[in-house]
Symmetry: C2
Subunit: 284 residues, 2 copies
């Protein structure tokens, strides 16, 4: 059997090469690169585990149910990407930064546009909360110089573990959200609540998969930040509450070690907790 | 950074290891093996091509649309598996046979149970067809001894390229389908039509993907066979019409070189064509 024949007709050995040989030379070069790599790895996976017909059937059924449950606010394929670490990997690859610059993590599904701009120091919690917290720090460049005019877009869940958009009938609009802008000293400070851990939606195919893998659906408590400034690469990230039970088992793998922030109790202050985190931006 | 930290928190380098470290030791051992390999290859793919956020978004949208178009008789994820060569690869891995035994190919979506048993020599074409064809041959074991009592389940498309189940209002039920049983000589023969090539459904996401890859949706003309006998491994396969335009570009990669059958014109016979194919079964 010649090499040409091996590619012309299907063989187990040359299966991926046969599939990839069919792509037209006129196809978009990048699409071709991506699909060839996908086919190569997909076939290698099937060969490595010698996937059975029944297992293939389970996979087809799983993917179908994952697609069919999507709709409205539910995007189960993004959730699947999240729990397999793919969303974080894509984020990491596309946001590589020099040592010392604040690291990215995933945006998540709960960011909204059009949130009010507040004066520095404002309280973003509109519906109360016992575990009040002051968030503060400085935005600098890699040399430690303060960044003036940095826009800080923040959002977190409520003390019950829900974002305002998940409970439009329960929480006031824009509860635990706000936008702040730094002055010449690069400093920021605002009040909110100490975030709490919460489960990702686990009543669909992805939750069933986590169950079979013996994985829990929880994310460790975190405050979301997007920090952007003219002339700098924007940073989309969270700060995670040090000591949270789920720091080393985030269902979506969002935790990078550098993003764990201390939350210190405050005696006799305006808030019960305070959390300092300094952001370091890279010039673009 | 220690190895333990690399697995506890997300890093681009150790992304797959981090995901796989989360699977419980109590999870089903086979599921664990399959998922670990899947995650390893999926992350390697994303890293190899350095997938962009936009490309990831295209993939999420594609998978979602593929799931949402499924329903009724349409299974777009199986079609996706087919056009990526995965269905054939799974079939090949699960049906390895010694040299000389008839090779498998995919079952396809058009097999039905409950088809009539015919006397050897019957005509399975109920709706006519110009390019009539006699199919014949012998079923033997690997030593060349005839296999008596072999069940031969056959089905093909019509001259218009559709199976009966695709056109319940146009074709008679069980048109171009039949079941035959060999006698002591292991021989089979029946009449039908010379099959024609036809496109797989290409009006959905999978068809769009084929379009972008510059691939056509056609399958080369083929007759389906399931040959089974007590004490032997059943063979699910097709014979392909030699000379078909799509033999080396089957949209679902079903063609193995050993399955190409000659279709010879017949002068003054009962049928216009004849096609001989001998089946060789492996003892189970």
């Amino acid at each position: 059997m010649t090499d040409q024949t091996q590619i012309a007709y299907f063989t187990e050995e040359a299966s991926a090469e046969t599939v990839n040989a069919r792509v037209s030379d006129d196809a978009d070069a990048r699409l071709k690169t991506v699909m060839e790599s996908l086919v190569k790895h997909l076939h290698a996976f099937v060969k490595d585990v010698e996937l059975t017909q029944d297992e293939w059937g389970v996979a087809i059924d799983f993917l179908t149910r994952t697609g069919q449950i999507c709709g409205g606010n539910r995007q189960e394929f993004i959730l699947l990407s999240d729990v397999l670490g793919v969303s974080m990997l894509v984020d990491a690859i596309n946001n590589r930064r020099p040592s010392g610059a604040t690291e990215n993590t995933v945006l998540g599904p709960f960011h909204v546009d059009g949130v009010p701009d507040y004066e520095m120091g404002a309280n973003i919690t509109k519906a109360g909360g016992r575990e009040t917290c002051r968030f503060f720090g400085t935005v600098t460049d890699l040399d430690g110089h303060p960044v003036a005019g940095a826009r800080i877009d923040v959002w977190s869940d409520s003390e019950d573990g829900f974002y305002d958009v998940q409970q439009p009938d329960v929480q006031p609009r824009h509860n635990n959200r706000g936008v702040f802008t730094t002055g010449a000293d690069g400093k920021y400070w605002f009040d909110g609540i100490k975030p709490v851990s919460y489960p990702i939606p686990d009543d669909g195919p992805v939750g069933q998969m986590l169950g079979h893998l013996g994985r829990h659906p929880y994310r460790p408590a975190h405050m979301h930040f997007i920090v952007s400034a003219e002339g700098f690469d924007p940073v989309t990230t969270h700060t995670f509450v040090a000591g949270d039970d789920y720091l080393t088992s985030d269902a979506v793998f969002g935790v990078k070690q550098s993003l764990i922030a201390t939350f210190d109790p405050v005696e006799g202050g305006e808030t019960r907790w305070q959390s300092r985190y300094d952001f370091v931006l890279q010039r673009s």
